[in-house]
Structure formats: C-alpha cells, structure tokens
C-alpha cells in the first residue's frame, strides 16, 4: 500500500505503520545496496579489498 492507494487514509495509524515499514525496507535496501556497490567498486578497483 502506498499513499496513492485509494484505501490510504491520512491519519497517524497509517503514517506510523507504513512509515516504519518503509523505513525498515529502506534500511535493508540501503544495506544490500551498499554491499553491492562496495563489491562493484572493489571489483573495478576503486576500493581496496580487505583480506581476512
């Protein structure tokens, strides 16, 4: 559901609930994105690989 769905209501319940959901999704997305980006950068040599 997005704020553009017809069921959407502009009240605190929706804002809180969906807000937190999208926040969680964003964090997870950013995390994965970050890891992907870092990998790509490392692959093309823009970043140094850390060795374990």
């Amino acid at each position: 559901m997005t704020p553009f769905s017809f069921e959407w209501q502009w009240n605190i319940d929706y804002l809180l609930f969906m807000g937190l959901l999208y926040l969680a999704l964003t964090i997870v997305g950013c995390g994965v994105g970050f890891a992907l980006l870092k990998t790509v950068l490392q692959l093309f040599g823009f970043m140094r690989e850390r060795h374990f």
Partner: protein, 412 residues
C-alpha cells in the same frame, strides 16, 4: 572439482550415506507436496478445518516454528548489537534455523489461506489496524533480512568462495551485519509480538482477549518474551541434535551456556509476567464477560491440566533447572529443560489457537472437536522434513559451526 566434503578441514560422510539420510525427509516432503497440491487444487475442503476451527493445525505449526525460530533474531541481537562475542560460534546455526522456520511458516501460510493468489492483497490493501497485517509485513521483511543474513554463510561455501564477486559481496554483507541484525531485531520484535497481539485483540473471545498498552495487548509482550526465551533453547537443541547425529562436538560449551543462561532469565521473567497476566485476566476481563476462570477448562479434553502442563511442568520446572548453573551445565538436564520449554511454548500457542476457538462464546453454542486430516499433517510435517534437509545440507556444505575444525582436529 574438489569434494565439498573435505572443505574447511572437517570430515563429512560419504555422498551415499548422505543420500540415504535424506531419504526419509524427502519422503515427508513428497507427502507434504502431495498434500499441498491437493489443498491448492481442490481447496481447503481437504482439511478438517471448519468455520469453528478457522485456525487449526497449520497455524499452530506456524506459530510454534516462528516462536522457536526466534533464536535467530535474538542471538543476532546478542551477537551483533549487545556484542556477546562467544555467540559467534552459534549464530550461523541460529540464522539457518530461523530461516528454515520462517520460510517454512510462510510456505504453510501460503497454503493455509483460501486464496493464495490474492495473498499479496495483504500488502496492497493492507488494513493497518490488523495485527495479522503487522505479522505479515514483519515476517516478510524479516524473512528478507534472514535471507540476507543467510547469504554470506552460503557464499562461504568453498566452491562459491572461488568466485571473486560472490566472495566480495559475501564479505561486504557480513561487515554490515549489525545493521541487518538491528533491523531484524526490530521486525522480529514486532511480529513475535503481533502474533500474540493477534489473539489478545480478539476482544470478543474472552479466552484470548487481554488488556494492554496502547494498541498492544499483553499477549504481544508475552509472546515476544516467550519466543526469545524458547528460541535460543531451540537453537541449542538443534545443535545438540546435530552433535548427537554427527557424533562431534560442534559448539563450545561457553556459547551454549551463555545462551542457556539468558534463556533461563528470560523464561523466568516470562513466567512472572505470564502469571501476573493470567491472574489479572482471570480477575478483570473474565468476570467482566460474565465468566469464571474455571469455566474455560471444562470443555472436552481441555481441562485445568493444560495450565499445569504449560506453566508448571513446561514453565517453572525448566526455568528452575536452567537457573541453577550446576544443573544446566549437565547436558542431559539442559536438553531436558530445553525440550520442556519448547513444548511449553508450543502448548501455549496451541492453547491460544485451538482452545480459544473450541470454547464456545455464546452460552447456547456447544463445544466442537477437531482432528486434522492426513493432508494437514502432510503440509505441517513437510516443514520438519524441509528443516532437516536444509540444515543437513547446510551442515554438509557450509561452515555452519566455525569452531568445528578446532573442536574436532583432523585425525590425519
């Protein structure tokens, strides 16, 4: 190509033996597959669920495995956020068990709903006031997190490690695991809670209904507590079972004891709250509905023995066992207490689901009984089969137990 059996300097059984080992689980999966196909093709009339038992065996399985799978998020929380380093030795197992439990539950839910193809309506037409929406959102997101947590473990497979891209990606993900662990903790907390909330908010079912804080009924917090108390114990039980089957020591005692100790405290805390909750409920909500506590325990087989079993035998007893360091350090007692706790948590979920529905609310209605069909058992047990298969495969091909080589130095 190297045999993965010899990876990481650990020993694994021969492919033949492994194949034989998987056979019973594959059998269960086939049974479950057939059941699932029947249920999807012909509809839920294949089950013995009914308008009285709208929730039945599958939901009990779901809630049970999700509660038991709570080890993943809680161990993750302890490892990455609290910083209990010794738990790194068990976190992989916890994550995989969590992944199994959650993905299994999701699959079962997909069959359980009457219109699986419309399942996504939950997200698209969400009713944010429904606890089940909270559950669905959090479980789905958390399953994503679990998958992300699982990926680095998979990528540590020796064959995959040779692929540079994958290796790098795995490492990079692993580095920011704390972020995922934190998000996972948040999501998990809410869905474990809202699973409990699901029942607490049914205000017209006095047996399940509870008062609470803001939108969350007390069952919300009790379910979180009970899940994080039992989850780690279930992780311990799984590793103990693996150790028993492989006849190896896989996890250092320190990690196990650390988890067990935390579980003991949480279980005790849970029990305290559960007793307060039960007393409060029995003295406010129940009489307000015109009922007495004992009215709930005279229908069919569901007598007062359930309270004794759930809170006494499967509650106080294991809590006491686990609280005494000397006793919990003995493997037998530890396993015994773990089993009791897990059984107690399953019983708790059973009571909230089945007994709630079995007890009629209208005074002129009557008690109904329910027994699952083989199709229901099939789908339910398939999760067990799937769990054994996936965990066996993970154990075989992935470095699930980082301390395994250390604890089991190669003979040669």
């Amino acid at each position: 190509m190297d045999s993965p059996t010899h990876s990481y300097g650990v020993k694994r059984c021969s492919p033949g033996v492994f194949f034989l080992w998987t056979l019973p689980w594959l059998g269960i999966l086939a049974w479950g597959g057939l059941s699932a196909v029947l249920c999807l093709w012909k509809g839920l009339n294949q089950t013995n669920m009914s308008n009285v038992f709208a929730f039945a065996l599958w939901i009990v399985f779901d809630l049970a495995v999700i509660a038991l799978g709570a080890g993943a998020f809680f161990t993750g929380f302890l490892t990455y956020i609290v910083g209990k380093k010794e738990l790194k030795d068990i976190i992989n197992a916890a994550v995989i068990i969590g992944f199994i439990c959650y993905s299994g539950a999701m699959a079962m839910l997909g069959i359980d709903i009457g219109q699986p193809l419309r399942g996504w309506f939950i997200f698209w037409h969400a009713n944010v006031h429904s606890m089940l929406v909270e559950v669905s959102f959090c479980i789905t997101c958390y399953l994503m997190v679990l998958t992300i947590e699982f990926i680095p473990i998979i990528l540590e497979n020796r064959t995959l490690q040779k692929v540079r891209e994958l290796r790098l990606f795995g490492h990079n993900l692993h580095e920011i695991m704390a972020v995922f662990a934190a998000t996972g903790t948040f999501l998990s907390f809410f869905h474990q809670g809202s699973l409990g909330g699901m029942f607490g908010v049914m205000y017209a079912r006095p047996f399940a209904a509870r008062g609470g804080f803001y939108i969350w009924p007390w069952t919300f917090f009790l379910f979180v507590l009970s899940a994080i108390a039992a989850g780690p114990l279930f992780t311990i039980l799984c590793t103990k079972l693996t150790e028993f089957i492989t006849r190896k020591k896989l996890v250092p005692d320190q990690a196990v004891q650390s988890l067990a100790k935390i579980s003991a405290w949480l279980l005790s805390l849970y029990l305290v709250f559960k007793f307060i909750d039960t007393l409060g409920w029995a003295n406010s909500l129940v009489p307000k509905a015109g009922l007495r506590f004992m009215d709930f325990y005279r229908e069919g087989p569901y007598g007062f023995w359930m309270v004794v079993a759930e809170l006494g035998i499967c509650g106080i007893l294991p809590a006491v066992i686990l609280m005494i360091p000397k006793v919990r350090q003995q493997q037998g007692w530890l396993i015994f207490a773990g089993l009791l706790t897990c059984a107690g948590i399953v019983l708790n979920r059973f009571v909230f689901i089945i007994v709630t529905l079995a007890i009629p609310v209208m005074p002129f209605d009557r008690f109904w009984s329910y027994l699952p069909t083989w199709q229901e058992w099939g789908v339910g047990l398939a999760v067990v089969g799937y769990g054994f298969l996936l965990f066996s495969a993970a154990y075989r091909y992935l470095p699930v137990f980082p301390k395994e080589p250390e604890l089991n130095p190669a003979a040669d």
